[in-house]
Symmetry: C2
Subunit: 245 residues, 2 copies
């Protein structure tokens, strides 16, 4: 990390309009600027361990991080996937409950925790935005619970691809139909931890989807979906949103 990232101005920030700071006015932004600093993590590096003291909260500026829980015998379940603009950390709690790991190279916009908590009390827009973001995360967690509890391995894989595609599309304002390309930042093992499967089952199901022409592979991490609607058929979800024809 040669360059001092603290130089970066909020105005030009790529996640300015989607992160916790999205609704801030000039005054609020100024107070945020005072307590913010940047950190970079290389792929694979831990950002926080469960039980660690957390001195900061923050936003993912670029890259992907995972939130995981691990049992004594090593079984691990991913319980959160942090993409750019997502918020990490819990205001009001000084100790991390989960492991947070950089999946790809990550840049984090950090706020010192104590001053940030004060900001939550002083200024309305940060707290309001954080509430909306937390409610969205809860909705995502609930969709994920349906996947974990009731879907088959094939439906799980298809759902994961569809979810990543949707989030990429919304971040980059792309259309979501026909031929699409999904850049998967996850290893097979990370996908398995996301879906509550083994990496072998993930591999087998991806091979099956490839064999049947639902997906094509370009290298190990880039997946081409010839027809997004075909992929949706495999997720088990209600495609037409329950509209009566």
């Amino acid at each position: 990390m040669t360059r001092h990232m603290t130089d970066i101005d909020c105005e030009g920030c790529p996640i300015r309009h989607r992160a916790v700071c999205a609704r801030c006015d000039a005054d609020e932004l100024e107070r945020l600027e005072e307590i913010k600093f940047y950190r970079n993590y290389e792929a694979g590096q831990p950002i926080a361990w469960a039980g660690d003291e957390m001195t900061f909260v923050g936003s993912i500026v670029s890259g992907v991080a995972s939130i995981t829980q691990t049992m004594e015998d090593g079984r691990t379940q991913m319980v959160g996937l942090l993409l750019p603009s997502d918020f990490m950390g819990r205001p009001g709690r000084s100790v991390s409950t989960y492991n947070v790991t950089a999946v790809s190279d990550v840049t984090l916009c950090c706020f010192r925790r104590k001053p940030f908590e004060q900001l939550l009390i002083d200024t309305p827009h940060v707290g309001e935005r954080l509430l909306v973001m937390t409610l969205d995360e809860l909705d995502a967690a609930r969709e994920w619970m349906l996947i974990l509890g009731r879907k088959t391995a094939r439906e799980k894989i298809s759902s994961l691809l569809a979810i990543i595609a949707r989030r990429e599309a919304s971040l980059n304002m792309l259309k979501l139909t026909g031929r699409i390309i999904v850049d998967l930042p996850l290893t097979r093992e990370a996908m398995a931890d996301y879906l509550g499967l083994t990496l072998e089952t993930v591999s087998r199901q991806i091979s099956a989807l490839k064999r049947e022409g639902i997906i094509e592979l370009e290298g190990k991490r880039r997946i081409v979906v010839p027809d997004y609607e075909d992929l949706l058929m495999e997720t088990g979800d209600d495609v037409d949103g329950g509209v009566i024809a």
Copy 2:
């Protein structure tokens, strides 16, 4: 519903110190009183269907309600379990995303949605409390995701019993050790929907735990746990919280 429940005063409310209104001062409480009304539901009745227009949000005063998601072919997954003091509904969204069903007889303290949303903007304490409650729910959802994705049937059942016991204990300020009694408000099918299992597997695992003396049954719904620590051993969780001995 013969008696007008609107007469009930917030001061004497059993969930006054735990619900969204917990941090309200006298002024704020007065504004809440103006927009609140009570509703009662019998066990089994729907409170909301996915896709329904929701005119209110509210708190569970007594009873238990479930939040579920259903796939086209009927597979259903519970994604939320609402106990007294829990909040239902999402401010800012007029259409329910989930099915909400009264599991036992339920009394709901409802707030008309629009005025409640205004309150969220005008007064700080409701929004702050709602943020904390939502963060708690997200934590609970993440623990649940570990259960759904990585635990065995036996561990799932044990975890569910431990979770219900913990919540009952915290609501009634009881100690949580040694011999405890868990009043399960759920049918075998509801437990299965909670845990991502079939009702047959739930039944078998409960029988197995009974055979091995981890639990005793008093009727179908009341479960006696002779030793809470023994039950915890079966959940697969880190019992000593990861403390180095």
